[in-house]
Subunit: 222 residues, 2 copies
DNA sequence: AAGTATTTTACGGTTTCCCGTAAGGAAATG
DNA sequence: CATTTCCTTACGGGAAACCGTAAAATACTT
């Protein structure tokens, strides 16, 4: 079994349970951080000392408080971790249950397992840890069931997200156009952007921009 | 100390920690439900058997799954509980940290304490339980600090919420107007609704309706 | 290199939003 | 009962969204 595991989880009420699972699995070294920044520091330090972690279990969203931080989410932590220790095994333990967000964790960040916080997540987490150790791939907790080959939602790309983000910030078409021009994002004509928004509206069955942003917010896209 | 406590929390990873706190406080009877409906049933049953609960500790948001449910949130559970056992002490333990939503829990649902899930919430929860037992009022975990007398946000009333909800569903002004007419909500002229939206835009510093809804979503108003 | 397809951009007409002003009506005051 | 005040509604003009069409630019094929 794993020898050295790092847990990144801000909520103490949850980290207790996660650590309990790791103790049950008799993992000798269990470290826990409440901030992503601390997590990256620990990973780097462990590498320097030639005692790297075997496994990172991370949440996705972290509360903000008084402290100044560089890494604000689990995604950013994992991305940074990939920069210094690409082979690190990674399990995400989060409440998120939107398939395209989870898919991107596997595709873009190369995580080994995703466990959704739910009514039976402790046993799911345990199974995921064991499976990851056995080098199983794309482990998903059983309350989630979506098809990795379903392309439908993955086609919403960063370009669409950029538009939605700016719309949600009160930008009008012209503003978005000039914003894209100055960031050299293409296409950036008002007409093209308009068309893309229209596609999104059709896709999400939205009546108008207001409706679209409400839906995008619900889906956690912005 | 309390003799009989009910915990309503769907996430097993969290309920473990909550129950641990209660055990540390040596509470003889601790029950736990993962669904709001089960919570209400238990409260009713305990009342019938003349062994009512002294305290309810509830989360606010519950995941939906295959099961059909009547009560979908902690608010609804507490409201129902108030219907059958108004004197029941109530502590809410949730991730929510928007002041006006928390205020309404105290004002409208008469909860005794609110503990925000955070980096040190376990000790906060323990303090809240002890404080509630000593009949302290309006207990707030210390990571939250807002003024109960600050009227600013509480003035957004259900009328505004109705407008925001319909906007978020893609209604245009005319639709909202006729919707209000058929529900006999006043004022219902397009002009009045327009003016009210304008006030909201000024209040939330929103550039337009799209921006407004994005902000409303962020604040959890809709 | 020419032709075809696709993408990007431009344009115009209609609807809705946006915002100021003002008329109409109800409640409050004296 | 008249006057003031506040609230609701109506109206109008300009801005932005909405929606279809078409031209221009780019990429793709043969």
């Amino acid at each position: 079994m794993f020898k050295k595991v790092l847990v990144a989880e801000d909520l103490d009420s949850i980290s207790i349970a996660v650590i309990q699972v790791l103790e049950d699995l008799q993992i000798p070294t269990i470290h826990h951080v409440k901030y992503c920044d601390d997590g990256l520091l620990k990973i780097k330090k462990a590498l320097l000392e030639n005692e790297p972690y075997d496994l990172l279990i991370s949440d996705l969203s972290f509360k903000t408080d008084h402290r100044d931080i560089h890494l604000s989410s689990g995604e950013e932590l994992i991305e940074s971790a990939n920069g210094v220790q690409p082979k690190l095994k990674k399990i995400v333990f989060s409440i998120e249950d939107k398939s395209y967000r989870i898919k991107s964790l596997f595709y873009d960040l190369g995580i080994n397992a995703y466990v959704s916080k739910g009514r039976n997540s402790i046993s799911e987490l345990r199974k995921a840890i064991e499976g990851t150790f056995r080098n199983e791939e794309r482990i998903l907790s059983s309350d989630l069931s979506f098809n990795f080959n379903d392309k439908s939602l993955i086609e919403i790309e960063s370009y669409d997200i950029s538009i939605l983000k700016l719309l949600a910030q009160g930008y009008i078409l012209e503003n978005i156009s000039s914003e894209f021009k100055s960031s050299s994002i293409t296409p950036n004509g008002t007409s093209s952007i308009e068309k893309r928004i229209n596609k999104l509206k059709i896709y999400f069955k939205a009546n108008n921009n207001v409706h679209l942003i409400a839906i995008a917010k619900d889906f956690g896209l912005v």
